[in-house]
């Protein structure tokens, strides 16, 4: 009962969030007036008639509320409209580009999680030692290193100096590497994923190590040791799971941060993902594309938050009381 209620509450809140963002977004876009008018105003040599025609085509004549509900209703039917610039269905573009984004983001989070767990345990069980100090120092440096800057340095080293990794794109333009499409795609992923892993790993390690150090000081850890459990079991079984509870919140935020800064990452690596698409959409003022991409990023983010909320229930029995 408690669990179901908790999840239901988070779910309802998530839906409210998405709805709220849609209202703000819509209001913002409409604050600048007729978006098509603005769009066309930036292109000289367009007549009033042309504007009129496009406005009618996109149904921009009704009142603001009418238009909002028309839009939301379309969204619910997964109809995102047609891109003005590319003249393609927005939904199709979002899926293509969105998958490219997830292709680097999801593996990056998972690898970072695994690596940071190992490093944190190594450091926290040797608190105040040189290993610990080295881990903290390098994690701090890594955490402060702006992701895109790291990407630039990686490109300089691995693409320009050593020439072993591709510096841009998700696929080779002409012939796939080694004649294999899969190998080619994987090879292109190395740099962006490596950069994201490094950045996430640094931040996660900082958090997880300090959380682990706190937990290792708790009474129940001493009690587990006093019961004669082997150290491996005490650290991985008793300490780590508890240490994850405060880190979990951050995992959701981290995923959001990665999605939020995807425009930067994807610009650095010229990656054909949602972020790059979004930049193009804004630059070109492609109204349906901006709306669609923002909503998709929001939904992904809210979903990530919701998943961490649910993970809480799985890991911490105290939540079940609500």
């Amino acid at each position: 009962m408690g669990t179901a209620r908790y999840i239901a509450r988070r779910l309802i809140f998530s839906l409210c969030l998405i709805l709220g963002v849609s209202v703000i977004l819509f209001a913002m876009i409409n604050a600048i007036g007729n978006p098509v008018e603005v769009l066309l105003a930036e292109r000289p040599g367009i007549t009033e008639e042309m504007i009129q025609a496009v406005t009618e085509y996109y149904g921009l004549n009704g009142s603001v509320t009418d238009r909002y509900f028309t839009w939301i209703w379309a969204l619910l039917r997964l109809d995102f409209g047609t891109s003005i610039i590319y003249n393609l269905p927005v939904s199709e573009m979002l899926v293509t580009y969105g998958l490219e984004t997830l292709k680097i983001q999801v593996p990056a989070i998972l690898i970072a999680l695994l690596v940071s767990v190992l490093i944190s345990v190594l450091a926290a069980t040797r608190q105040y030692s040189r290993v610990d100090f080295g881990v903290i120092a390098s994690a701090m440096v890594g955490h402060s290193m702006p992701g895109f800057l790291l990407g630039i340095v990686l490109i300089l080293i691995f693409s320009y100096s050593l020439g072993i990794l591709p510096s841009y794109g998700a696929y080779s333009t002409r012939n796939p590497l080694w004649g294999s499409d899969v190998a080619d795609a994987l090879w292109h992923m190395v740099l962006p994923v490596g950069m994201l892993v490094f950045f996430n790993c640094a931040t996660l390690t900082l958090l997880l190590r300090s959380s682990l150090v706190d937990v290792l000081r708790q009474d129940f850890i001493t009690a587990a040791r006093a019961s004669g459990l082997p150290e491996r079991r005490v650290v991985f079984g008793h300490a780590l799971r508890n240490a994850f509870i405060p880190v979990l919140t951050y995992l959701g935020i981290l995923f959001g941060l990665m999605l939020g800064t995807a425009p930067v990452t994807e610009t650095v690596f010229t990656w054909p993902g949602l972020g790059a698409l979004y930049i193009m959409a804004i630059q070109q003022l492609d109204y349906p594309l901006i709306m669609g991409a923002t909503m998709v990023i929001t939904v992904m983010l809210v979903t990530a938050t919701l998943l961490t909320d649910i993970a809480y229930v799985a890991i911490d029995p105290r939540i079940r009381l609500g």
């Binding site: 608190q127 105040y128 129940f220 006093a226 459990l229 150290e231 799971r241 508890n242 029995p317």
Partner: protein, 347 residues
């Protein structure tokens, strides 16, 4: 094989038994930024088979640290700085970590002060207790569960089968402490260290827990070290008492002697300064209580000589210089005080 609940196999003791646990010149130092804190600084005591030793002292006297040291679990930045801990004749400080871990929970177990923090909040009672049996006794899940249920019943938890699936936060403080006691007794240890087991509990619950501990101790003929600051609790529970002050032992004797004929000025002052519920203080009877002036010393920089000299009404000039050693003053009664004939060493 799982041990049964039959009393432990050691035969009833008749004459002067060999102590089960003997602590000699134990030193535990905390290495802090400010310097070395001598939390335990040359402590001796012993525990005989099937007896309860009470270790009494105020906060900072080193009583808790010395019991953790017995299990070699002093937390960093503390370090064992010397001494011997003989358990069944073997020095625990010389054991390998794996040998030590095999003793913990099986031969020597511990009950913690705060039941709210000494159970892992994310595991069910059954999981965290059963795990210990599965590790030490290579029991199967079912065997472990059966034994846990048996012990939970033994420590007075109603409906133990249902409790297996409960989590610590679903139990009251008294219940959690009972679970803590059950955990300590899982493998039939011969020595149980109880660190302020009732301090966090209300008085009526404290009475329940003390009764339970006394009963279990008798039933299984185990030895117990009861660490507390409460003179009333040791009076009820302990057969022998060691009084600690500022990281050192002041006085050790059987319970009756400590309460009826204490020799060390600190023990005396401690007993006198407590108001008693069996005395009347109404009207003119409310005279000022005798007090111990000042406050306990900072162990970062302990006073030279006797640790108690600057609060002691009987302090003589040599007390400032010489550190008193424990000296027998009667059968089973030792005191560290220059004025009671202790030898002093310049430290």
């Amino acid at each position: 094989m799982l041990s049964t609940l039959a009393p432990a196999s050691s035969p009833p003791v008749v004459a002067a038994p060999a102590p089960l646990l003997q602590v000699r010149d134990l030193r535990v130092h905390f290495h802090t930024r400010e310097g070395v804190v001598r939390a335990v600084d040359g402590v001796d005591y012993h525990v005989n088979p099937a007896e309860t030793l009470g270790i009494v002292g105020e906060s900072g006297s080193g009583k808790t640290v010395s019991s953790l040291a017995t299990l070699r679990l002093v937390p960093p930045p503390a370090r064992m700085a010397g001494g011997q801990i003989l358990f069944e004749g073997q020095d625990l400080l010389a054991k390998k970590p794996a040998e030590m871990a095999a003793l913990r929970g099986r031969r020597i177990a511990m009950i913690f002060q705060n039941p709210a923090t000494s159970l892992n909040p994310i595991y069910s009672i059954g999981a965290q207790l059963g795990e210990i049996l599965m590790w030490h006794e290579k029991a199967s899940r079912a065997e472990a569960d059966a034994r846990v249920v048996e012990l939970l019943g033994l420590v007075g938890i109603s409906d133990p089968g249902a409790r297996l699936r409960q989590f610590p936060h679903e139990l009251s403080g008294g219940m959690k402490q009972r679970v803590g006691i059950a955990r300590a007794l899982l493998c039939n240890p011969s020595l149980v260290l109880a660190d302020e087991p009732t301090t966090a509990l209300d008085v009526t619950i404290q009475a329940q827990i003390l009764e339970l501990l006394a009963d279990l101790q008798k039933r299984f003929r185990m030895s117990m070290v009861l660490v507390t600051h409460d003179m009333g609790v040791v009076a009820r529970m302990a057969s022998r008492i060691t009084v600690m002050y500022a990281g050192r032992v002041c006085e050790s004797a059987d319970a009756a002697t400590i309460f009826n004929a204490p020799r060390h000025p600190y023990t005396r002052a401690l007993l006198e300064s407590m108001p008693r519920i069996d005395h009347s203080y109404t009207g003119a009877a409310r005279r000022p209580l005798p007090t111990i002036a000042g406050r306990p010393p900072n162990l970062l920089n302990p006073p030279p000589g006797c640790r108690f000299h600057d609060r002691c009404p009987e302090a003589a000039p040599e007390c400032r210089r010489l550190l008193p050693l424990e000296t027998p003053v009667g059968p089973g009664h030792t005191v560290s005080c220059l004025k009671r004939g202790s030898e002093g060493i310049a430290a």
